[in-house]
């Protein structure tokens, strides 16, 4: 088990380095192969209407004249050791982990992202609790009442849930609960430490909007898994023991159904923490998704690279956790 975790950790680090290489190649190698000059490339890192001096300074800063592998090394060492950037007249120190310096916003990338993480994390975690509980419950009930009204109704709603885009359901929720009835008047991020109650109240609508989509997916998954599991021989064995049906379902069937759900849940959560773009945009929540969209709109390459790396980090970590968790909950996985 320990060796498995260590092996998995090493693989994770390797994977992250690989992701950084690919990201780096996209931003620095591809333009070069496409025939863009280093000056032209540097121009894109500076704000609108760049002066020649500023562009030359950026070209110098990023070492665009040097071989690509040296540039990459420079990028990596900045993450580990920090880096000084001279922007304009003054020099700015970007402490580790330094994921680059945005010459457009004139700030290091990392501190901007870290301030956005709590927003996205709050959104994803709250929604995750809601969708996991409701999705699994609805899925189980649907499977047990297969073909009955409860099943048809919940599967119909689930179909709507997976089909309707978040910017649609989000707008509807806002129109109804925020403007028309004003149950949740303001959707604004308030730190959980400053006012937990307000934090939760303001996030209810985004949570429900995001959870609706995932709950629908999970209800369908759980229902399918449940229907399959209830036909398994070991369920018949559990009944043959004289176990009450309630326990057959809660203990024997759910155990088998939840195993694949847990793994998918881990991956979904990892993906979301990298930015719940649509939900954040719909509710103007300034999380990582919002940050990503801003970075893309401003064509702020260091910021985009930073957010790509961060999202990749969450996904890779989630993958690792899921792998380890799977080994723990399924005794048949030999390590």
């Amino acid at each position: 088990m320990i060796t498995f975790i260590i092996r998995r950790l090493i693989a994770t680090v390797f994977l992250l380095v690989l992701v950084s290489m690919i990201t780096f190649a996209i931003f620095f190698l591809l333009p070069k192969l496409g025939g863009q000059t280093t000056y032209g490339l540097a121009t894109e890192y500076v704000g609108r209407n760049p002066t020649r001096a500023a562009v030359l300074q950026v070209e110098q800063q990023l070492g665009l004249n040097r071989p690509v592998y040296l540039q990459y090394w420079h990028y990596l060492s900045a993450i580990v050791a920090g880096e000084h950037y001279s922007a304009g007249p003054q020099t700015v120190y970007c402490p580790p982990p330094c994921f680059g310096y945005s010459f457009k916003s004139q700030q290091p990338v990392w501190p901007q992202m870290t301030s956005d993480i709590p927003v996205t994390a709050s959104l994803a975690a709250g929604a995750a609790v809601i969708w996991l509980c409701s999705g699994v419950t609805i899925g189980v009930i649907s499977a047990l009442k297969r073909g009955q009204i409860v099943d048809r109704l919940s599967m119909g709603i689930a179909l709507a849930g997976v089909s309707l885009p978040i910017f649609f359901t989000g707008q509807i929720a806002l129109a109804l609960f925020s403007y028309k009835w004003a149950i949740f008047p303001s959707v604004q991020y308030v730190g959980i430490t400053s006012n937990p109650l307000l934090w939760a109240k303001n996030l209810v609508l985004p949570w429900i909007t995001l959870a609706f989509l995932y709950a629908a997916l999970y209800a369908r998954l759980t229902r399918a898994g449940m229907l399959e599991t209830m036909g398994e021989d070991y369920i018949r064995t559990a009944r043959a023991k004289g176990l009450p049906e309630r326990k057959v379902i809660a203990k024997h069937a759910l155990r088998a159904v939840l195993t694949p759900i847990v793994t998918i849940f881990g991956l979904d959560l990892g993906l979301l923490i990298g930015g719940a773009i649509l939900t954040e945009i719909t509710y103007s929540l300034h999380g990582l998704g919002w940050f990503t969209i801003q970075a893309i709109q401003n064509q702020d390459f260091p910021e985009i690279m930073g957010v790509v790396m961060l999202a990749a980090f969450f996904i890779v970590i989630a993958n690792m956790v899921v792998d380890i968790l799977y080994a723990v909950i399924d005794p048949r996985v030999r390590l």
Binding site: D233, Y234, T237, P244, R332
Partner: protein, 378 residues
Amino acid sequence: MAAGSGARDGSPGDRRTVLGRRERAELRDGGTGAALGPASAAMLEVRDLQIHFPTDDGLVKAVDGVSFTLERGKTLGIVGESGSGKSVTSMGILGLHHGTRAKISGQIWLDGEELVGADPARVRALRGSKMSMIFQDPLSSLHPYFTVGAQIIEAYLIHNKVSKREARAHAIEMLDRVGIPQAASRVDDYPHQFSGGMRQRAMIAMALVNDPELLIADEPTTALDVTVQAQILDLISELQAEYRSAVIIITHDLGVVAELSDDILVMYAGKAAEYGSAEDVFDRAAHPYTWGLLDSMPRLDEERTERLKPIRGTPPSLINVPAGCAFHPRCNYAKRTGGRSETTVPTLHELEPGHLVACHLTGDQRREIRGDEITVRP
């Protein structure tokens, strides 16, 4: 019509034929057919059991009027191809069709208690304690996420108010009893860490943990290696002698029932084709289907120069059961009955005391056929 249908009509003449030897004697001595209670003190008495499943394609009569009796300490072998209703019957006895769309009628008397009309909670209380079951494939029948010990302990705790520690000690004792080496440490293993034979032993330990008086073994050796099969069968009969349980062995392998059974019920398309003692069915087999089963069984006790003779055709669909005798399309002798096999469902009737058969062939025809075509076991 199958034997049991007579019971519904209330005609004692037909009813008689479905009972065991002793009960028949009782009925002859003035009994009128105790339709309201068990006809005997037998451990298990199944009377005119019908289990039907309504499906979109039509009504599947998986079990269509089956009756048999089983005494304490005795073994009944139920034989038939896939789809003949063997497993559905056994699941019906345990009440495992509850909650499905199955329509069940008839009577099942377990030690004087009727189960078909009983409260499902009562049947559940009996399930796993007074009657229990061993299933065909021990790997898929054991829960992959729980240890073998946990599953046996659970079975014990459902029916006994004891501490977990006591239950665990009992589980280890049972594993030891069914011949699992180092039971005290293997109890914490998962099913996938056991070999096939050990898994089936663990299943048996789980089935016997509450000293059941009725044990149903549904194809207990089908998923096992041949060498392990014999061990498991030995174990079942050994434990049966020890616990004095009544045992039903369900199988398509006549070799298995030959070794263990006192009585044999041959089923075809949800009905009894032949029912009698093991000697009756093996030595004086009367139904062409039984002949077919015997002929398709490899034998070591005599020299064979010809190939095994399989029964031609396939078992019928239970939605469109052939008219008349369900076996007639596959029967080599159906044409000798003057068309009755195609039109009339044969009743289960008594050939000699305790030996019942549902076939239109007459005794003379049988003797004639047997004389020139059927190999009779010495």
